[in-house]
């Protein structure tokens, strides 16, 4: 057996994971080979030395901390669900009808996460919450909130609304339609870009797929066009190839975008 092979097995030798035969092979080689013997000896020495470090026990504090933490968590969860139900209803009313002035005081965190319970816990009980019907209700409310935010005058608020849609597990048509229409007609490039990114999460939805492909021909900003092309390629949407081809024929399209469209067609066509 070669030195190389022998040395490769040293680690397993140390942890006792070799078969009898394998151990014998090593011992044979080592008896003849000084270098390997020395290596094995020094490895064994340290390995054994490590045995000095025995398993130790933590103090009683650890257990106490754990159990009190667990208890707090349980209570906090129940609290969040209760507060969400109450809080969301009253705040939603203030958002309608639409106000022209930016709403500085709107803190999304307070509304949907119940962070203000003053606890460490920031997890939103989604699928795992106590009452499934309640969870669905909360999701619906959160979704209405997102939709109405996306309608606001303030770009920052529209952005908040779109960011919020990331957190929804099963958005319904209303939200998806909103995101698609934002993608096609929001005056701000930043917002349209955010819409593309958010729709990425829901690309499985047939309506979204079609909407994204159709949007390509409607966009004039290269930034949004690039993001859409990116998205098509990364989700492997072969039906986008036709839309990409038409982009190549269009006049006034940024040459760099045409470039990307070409590359996109290549990627999607193999």
């Amino acid at each position: 057996m070669t030195c190389k092979k022998t040395q490769e097995m040293f680690t397993e030798y140390l942890t006792g994971r070799l078969s009898k035969k394998e151990r014998e092979e090593i011992q044979t080689h080592v008896a003849e080979c000084d270098t390997c013997r020395r290596e094995l000896e020094s490895l064994t020495e340290i390995w054994t030395k490590l045995g000095v470090l025995e398993e130790e026990r933590p103090s009683d504090r650890l257990r106490t901390r754990f159990y009190s933490m667990l208890e707090q968590y349980k209570q906090a969860e129940e609290e969040i669900v209760r507060k969400e139900k109450k809080g969301l209803f009253s705040r939603l009313k203030n958002l309608w009808p639409r106000k022209p002035v930016f709403q500085f005081a709107l803190t999304l965190g307070m509304l949907v996460m119940g962070l203000v319970i003053g606890n460490v816990w920031t997890v939103i009980p989604q699928q795992e919450a106590v009452n499934k019907a309640l969870v669905d209700e909360v999701q619906t409310m959160r979704q209405s909130l997102a939709v109405s935010l996306i309608d606001q005058d303030s770009a920052s608020e529209r952005l908040q609304g779109i960011n919020m849609s990331y957190t929804l597990v099963n958005p319904d048509d209303k939200l998806l339609d909103k995101l698609l229409s934002t993608l096609n007609s929001d005056p701000s490039v930043n917002i349209r870009l955010a819409a593309v990114e958010a729709l990425y999460l829901f690309h499985d939805h047939p309506k979204v797929k079609k909407g994204l492909i159709d949007s390509l021909s409607q966009q004039s900003s290269p930034m949004v066009q690039a993001a859409l092309i990116d998205l098509m390629v990364s989700i492997r949407e072969r039906r986008a190839v036709d839309a990409l081809k038409s982009l190549l024929e269009e006049e006034g399209v940024n040459p760099e975008i045409k470039d990307r469209a070409e590359q996109g067609i290549k990627r999607l066509s193999f």
Binding site: P58, L62, V130
Partner: protein
């Protein structure tokens, strides 16, 4: 009393029976504590990190998929807790508080002192190993993890882990020697 597998219990925790996490705590917290103890050399810090691990297991319970062994998932969380701690504290452990171990009553003063020094030295050497090598070595030597599991945890091949451990042991030997002042024990 039903005896459930770790994975089954974690699935219950994920699906809402949060209090069942206590079973997993009782089963595993000492092991995790020792993992951190070997990684960091500090009792107090290790207790903090164990607490962090269970806090994260709770926060992340919805992401538990039930694929593979629960312990591998748990060690993954533990590794991240350790890495995040290192990031926040930029690497160097406070050597002063490294060795506050509970008094051992039985041994004679001389013997106890020698043993203590030995322990300190090897732990110090261990703490000076680069993080990944240290982790692999500790998981194999002290946590009895199979190479396959360690490889899964690290996301690399089994052969890489074995090679890492080999190098780790070698390097540990060199560091230990240096710390001793070049005098073989």
């Amino acid at each position: 009393m039903e005896s459930l597998s770790d994975s089954a219990i974690m699935e219950k925790v994920r699906d809402g029976q949060v209090e069942k996490l206590a079973i997993l705590f009782e089963r595993h917290h000492v092991k995790i504590f020792n993992l951190f103890l070997r990684l960091t050399g500090s009792h107090n810090l290790s207790e903090d990190l164990v607490q962090d691990v269970f806090i994260r297991i709770l926060k992340y319970r919805s992401t538990y998929e039930g694929k593979g062994k629960f312990t591998v998932w748990m060690y993954r969380v533990a590794r991240n807790v350790h890495v995040d701690h290192l990031r926040k504290n930029k690497g160097t452990y406070n050597l002063e508080d490294q060795f506050e171990e509970p008094e051992s009553e039985e041994d004679s003063p001389m013997h106890a002192l020698e043993q203590k020094k030995d322990k300190e030295l090897i732990q110090k050497a261990l703490s000076q190993l680069p993080v990944k090598k240290r982790e692999a070595l500790i998981l194999s030597r002290f946590q009895d993890m199979k190479y396959k599991e360690i490889a899964e945890l690290f996301g690399c091949r089994e052969g890489t882990i074995k090679a890492n451990i080999h190098r780790a042991v070698k390097q540990l030997g060199e560091i230990y020697l240096e710390l001793q002042g070049g005098v073989p024990s």
